[in-house]
């Protein structure tokens, strides 16, 4: 298909375009006015809101940093009390990591990716809007706790037992657990969106080897979130359950182990650093070629480096635990792995240097490129100190000191904040068609660069001369005074830089549009002329830098000569292409603005926060309302094939509805199952880990466990549940007809799983297992909880599908909703069966 176009050198659509085509696009994609603006779902609106919120949290957490620096400016200072200081550093770290860094990168994904892929929107617009609202509400409440002394004070890493009720009474720690658990869920929602968006909504012809590096880095980023975040979600579940109900996951006397938390936390926490760094590196890989006006040297090496970083980063979490007394062999392994991860970073640094050197007519020095160069310096230092702490003996001295404070700020500020400011200056004209001020930008850069290094460079020494992390005061005799004073001065210089940026930002948005497009003469698609509907038509791409290699592309695209220059279904839509080659497959009918997802976010947040302050009944009411809103939102999806097929140009007639493995919903569901799988993997790790730590609380042989016929019965129920769902799909009626057997089978399917979980729990209780008695027993019940929550989702989904059947929205053709429900059912049954095997088999096996 694509070949024929190239041979004819003809464009997919011809001119002139019919009258009113563009007006219809404008009407369909219009952003709602006034207060209805909050119902908007388009990626440009939602992405900007997301980025704005993340930046606001950056400023707030930065102000907390200034308070801390002021307190530490001189020895024995009493500006801030011990208790408040402990809250402030906890909130600073938590906010920067969870409310700023990850959301900012997701926001850039939401904002930039569809533009770079010339898609009209991401495939699940309401999902990203839901994630944003959930994050803004949850994040604001979490942050505000610092103003009324309710903020957590266990550090952003929240190590138990300090964070157990015995040492942290009150709701402070719960705010961290529930607030963060909730924000993680919104991060996962964003990650699913980003993966499906990158793999399925690329423009025709943009095969994976032409994907902009930012797309690659976001793909790895989102993949890492899918694997890493479930571990910390499980950890937060454990900790909250132990705090609320006393199940001893982390209490040594009950067979638990505080180090289990550290393993789970750092299995997430170390990849987290790369989750933050990789997208930023991707941004740099976009800016450098533009400023050099030459393609990136080593594109393929960089892609390999990004993927390698993703893999390596999961093999080095233990380097945060070198001082915990773990065996020498583990030390050696994790030390080597920690060093290996330096190689992919080296590849990227040298690729940028090579590309800068290849600049045609000299590398342009402006605000974005200054920030990139600043990043290169700071990140190099951060990487080198990272290698130092990977050396076990050195880490024994440096660990938990201000050396680490310096190191992590070099990595994160160099690896993420500087690229982010480069991004602000580079992509601002894409968003507002107006450039930020170069003059202020240079001031900002130098203030930030100097301020940052004055704060943190010598802080490496402050740590090595003995100043630990997380201390609110220090004695005059320690001799750390002058070091700290200089750091405080630097922090204020850095703060002044950020203030200048805020001024520049206000200047920018105060004035109307200026009509600047592609001011840097960049080569990628986000610099095509756009309006609310994104590009007028979706370009056919034949190179990595289409705007450089395909002359006249911008004009052709705006004239509507490429794909889908109109809205054939009369609503929001974009083209879905195949994952590797990007050949057009179907046109996706996307939902428009709406209230349901906003309310769902509000009620989800309310539910979590009410649970935090232990107001259970209203929390449950909110949970019910949240689920109802989600169902109302999902009800309008799965639109069926009524409006297709439609022509998109080049003689292509595409369906507007597909089911099965080609559908984007199916892809999202599969990724969600991967998330659930990662969560369960973390559970299996925890189960086996606790067994290695406290085998004495594991029953030998079969004592304490129900006789084998009971789990066999549960297993039978689970298997029949899957069978019911499978058969239900086969009984789907022809369009327009109804078939009572289908809802009956679905109901039976859901109910047998419910029954199986209930039976499991009942058996454990009958044999005298009590979750509060030991870590073993807690883990047994935990397995049922993990299965139970999936079964609950399955039940809701089954009822939802049944309702669709009775309203005539489910039949043999329009079956996407049922297919996704079946995926969930199969996964649930598989996990439950593995669970039964482990819970009943493992103790019998180890005898």
């Amino acid at each position: 298909m694509i070949k024929t176009i190239e041979e004819k050198a003809a464009l997919p659509n011809t001119l002139p375009r019919p009258q009113g085509e563009e007006e219809e696009l404008l009407r369909i994609w219009e952003t709602p006015k006034g207060w209805r603006w909050i119902t908007a779902v388009n990626n440009t609106v939602v992405g900007l809101l997301y980025l704005g919120a993340a930046f606001a949290f950056f400023v707030l957490a930065g102000l907390l940093a200034l308070v801390m620096r002021t307190q530490l400016a001189v020895p024995e200072n009493d500006l801030v009390s011990q208790d408040l200081y402990n809250q402030i550093f906890t909130v600073h770290g938590t906010t920067m990591m969870f409310l700023f860094a990850v959301p900012a990168m997701e926001a850039l994904g939401v904002l930039l990716l569809p533009q770079m892929l010339a898609a009209r929107d991401l495939p699940f617009p309401r999902l990203s809007a839901f994630a944003v609202w959930a994050y803004i509400i949850g994040g604001s409440v979490f942050f505000s706790t610092v103003f009324y002394g309710l903020a957590p004070k266990g550090g952003w890493f929240m190590y138990p037992p300090l964070t157990l009720t015995a040492y942290s009474p009150g709701d402070n720690a719960d705010f961290w657990l529930l607030g963060i658990g909730f924000i993680e869920i919104s991060a996962i929602a964003g990650a699913i969106e980003i993966i499906v968006g990158i793999l399925r909504t690329r423009p025709p012809g943009m095969s994976l080897d032409k994907l902009p590096i930012f797309g690659w880095s976001m793909l790895v980023f989102a993949g890492m979130i899918v694997v890493a975040f479930p571990a910390v979600i499980l950890a937060t579940m454990f900790l909250e359950i132990e705090r609320s109900f006393g199940w001893p996951f982390f209490t040594a006397s009950g067979g638990g182990d505080p180090l289990l938390w550290q393993h789970l936390f750092w299995f997430f926490g170390h990849p987290e650093v790369y989750i933050i760094f990789l997208p930023a590196a991707g941004l740099v890989s976009m800016i450098v070629p533009t400023m050099a006006h030459a393609p990136l040297i080593g594109y393929k090496l960089i892609v390999v480096a990004l993927i390698a970083t993703g893999f390596f980063s999961f093999g080095l979490w233990v380097h945060h635990m070198f001082a915990t007394g773990i065996p020498a062999l583990s030390l050696a392994f994790f030390s080597a792995a920690s060093m290996a991860v330096a190689v992919p970073s080296g590849i990227q640094v040298f690729s940028w240097i090579a590309t800068i050197a290849s600049a045609k007519g000299g590398f342009q020095l402006n605000t974005p490129s200054l920030f990139v160069l600043g990043m290169l310096f700071i990140f190099t230092v951060g990487g080198l100190t990272g290698i130092m702490v990977a050396m076990v003996p050195f880490d024994w001295q440096a660990h938990d000191t201000h050396f680490i404070v310096a190191h992590l700020h070099y990595v994160l500020v160099g690896g993420m904040v500087f690229p982010l400011f480069a991004t602000f200056y580079y992509w601002a004209p894409m968003v507002s068609t107006r450039m930020l001020s170069e003059r202020l930008g240079k001031w900002l850069f130098w203030l930030m660069f100097i301020g940052f290094n004055v704060t943190f460079l010598h802080m490496h020494i402050t740590g090595l001369i003995g100043m630990p992390h997380r201390v609110w005061t220090y004695s005059e005799a320690s001799g750390w005074g002058p070091y700290n004073f200089i750091s405080t001065v630097g922090a204020y210089i850095l703060g002044a830089g950020v203030l200048i940026f805020i001024i520049d930002l206000i200047r920018n948005f105060r004035v109307g549009k200026c009509g600047v497009t592609n001011p840097w003469q960049a080569g990628t698609l986000e610099w095509l002329p756009t309006d609310v509907y994104s590009t007028r038509s979706i370009p056919h791409v034949t190179s990595r830098e289409p705007l450089w290699e395909q002359p006249g592309l911008a004009e052709q695209v705006s004239a509507g000569e490429h794909y889908l220059p109109n809205a054939p279904t009369g609503a929001r839509e974009t083209i879905v292409t195949s994952a590797i080659e990007a050949t057009p497959q179907y046109v996706i009918q996307m939902p428009g603005n709406g209230w349901a997802h906003v309310l769902a976010a509000v009620f989800t947040a309310a539910c979590f926060l009410l649970l935090t302050i232990k107001v259970v009944a209203p929390a449950l009411a909110c949970a019910v309302l949240a689920i109802a809103c989600c169902l109302a939102w999902v009800w309008e999806l799965d639109k069926g094939s009524g409006k297709g097929p439609v022509a998109i140009g080049a003689g292509l007639k595409l369906p507007v509805y597909v089911t099965g493995p080609m559908g984007h919903g199916w892809w999202a569901m599969v990724i969600l199952m991967l998330v659930a799988g990662a969560l369960y993997f973390a559970y299996l790790f925890s189960y086996l880990y606790l067994w290695t730590v406290s085998p004495e609380v594991w029953p030998s042989a079969a004592q304490k466990l129900p006789a084998l016929q009971w789990p066999a019965m549960s297993a039978l129920l689970f298997v029949s549940s899957a069978a019911f769902f499978a058969v239900a799909k086969r009984t789907l009626p022809e369009p327009g007809k109804k078939h009572l057997l289908t809802p009956l089978l679905l109901l039976l399917g859901a109910l047998s799983s419910v029954l199986a979980v209930c039976l499991e729990i009942w058996c454990y209780w009958q044999t005298g297992l009590r979750p509060t008695a030991s870590s073993y027993e807690a883990m047994v019940y935990m397995d049922s909880i993990l299965a139970g929550q999936l079964v609950f989702a399955m039940l809701i989904m089954a009822l939802f599908v049944i309702a669709r059947h009775f309203t005539g929205k489910l039949d043999r053709v329009r079956s996407a909703t049922l297919e996704n429900t079946n995926l969930l059912a199969y996964y649930t049954v598989a996990q439950a069966l593995i669970g039964l095997l482990i819970i009943h088999g493992f103790p019998r096996m180890i005898l």
């Binding site: 190689v343 240097i353 050396m391 050195f394 003995g466 320690s478």
Partner: protein, 330 residues
């Protein structure tokens, strides 16, 4: 470091040690006052030098890539540069460094297998240190917030915790090791010469984490034996009877032990020889009678959240008597 004490023997010893160590209260990883830490100090300098050179090299490359002569820039703009600089160079240098690191670990292993180490147990408590000396005859002597060790002998410290995770760190002698509930970790090190150094809790342990430190005193073996024998003995009968009576009648003995008296509480630090220690409140105040009085009357101000109940009801005279009594427990 000002050490105010009016007891000669201790004062004498302290002064002598101060003179020898040069910089008493040292809390720096650069000090390298023992074989374990000095190996790390060397490693620090090697890595600092290497890192500085590499950073400078990258900066030079950046400068050349932007403003260098065209033919230099042309040479830089090749994929080969990425392979050499980004793969070959780090693999070679990092492998070398890694093996050097293993050598250091291996050298540290010798001390672990050393015979006849000094056995001391330290228990981390919110926010102080319980120190237990294990004698060769199987008995133990409990003390607190100060560690005495002999010079030139391998030291083996058993580390555990009574509550949350703490981390035991004497930078001048060795890296830190965590104290984790349900586990006993061991730390091995040796002091090269006599002197007083400072240590601190490195793992955030809640509330007064910043105020949880201690002194470590390295002594010549003979002095150490003498000190240990004295530490092992019960408190001498008090010269200051009024203070002792107050101490006992106010319930101090419910938490603190003063061996040789009725006070046998196990919750707080052992005070049998508190007068001979360098500091009060776990490395917070220099040991002096007026600081005893300050600590008793306003310890929540000096060390917020510490778990000692408030004792703000003593009159000035009573405080003086108590302080004199405690200061006399040498």
């Amino acid at each position: 470091m000002k050490i105010v004490s009016h007891r000669f023997s201790i004062l004498f010893l302290v002064m002598a040690l101060l003179a020898m160590a040069g910089c008493a209260g040292e809390q720096s990883a650069f000090a390298g006052l023992g074989p374990v830490s000095s190996r790390i100090t060397l490693l620090i300098w090697i890595m600092f030098t290497g890192a500085a050179l590499i950073t400078a090299f990258i900066c030079v490359l950046m400068a050349i890539s932007i403003a260098g002569p065209a033919n230099w820039r042309h040479k830089l703009a090749r994929e080969k540069v990425i392979v050499l600089g980004g793969i070959v160079f780090p693999v070679v240098t990092l492998t070398t460094l890694l093996f050097y690191g293993f050598l250091i670990l291996k050298a540290g292993g010798k001390l672990i297998r050393a015979e006849d180490p000094v056995h001391i147990a330290v228990v981390g408590e919110q926010w102080w240190w319980r120190v237990i000396y294990r004698h060769d005859d199987g008995h133990t002597t409990e003390s607190a917030n100060e560690l005495h060790i002999p010079v030139g002998r391998p030291i083996e410290i058993e580390l555990s915790t009574a509550d949350v995770i703490h981390s035991f760190w004497i930078p001048a002698y060795a890296g830190k090791v965590d104290m984790i509930p349900g586990r006993i970790n061991t730390l091995h090190f040796m002091a090269d010469k006599s002197g007083i150094v400072h240590g601190q809790c490195a793992e955030y342990c809640g509330g007064a984490h910043a105020l949880m430190s201690f002194y470590a005193v390295a002594m010549a073996p003979f002095d150490y034996e003498a000190w240990l024998a004295k530490e092992r003995a019960d408190a001498k009968p008090a010269l200051e009877n009024k203070g002792e009576q107050l101490f006992l009648s106010s319930g101090c003995g419910g938490c603190h032990t003063v061996r040789g008296t009725r006070a046998n509480g196990k919750i707080g630090p052992d005070l049998t020889h508190v007068g001979s220690r360098l500091s009060l409140g776990a490395g917070i105040l220099p040991n002096a009678p007026e600081h005893f009085a300050q600590w008793i009357s306003r310890h929540q101000k000096i060390k917020p959240d510490n778990l000692m109940p408030p004792f703000d009801f003593f009159s000035e005279n009573e405080l003086q008597a108590l302080a004199a009594y405690l200061d006399g427990l040498e």
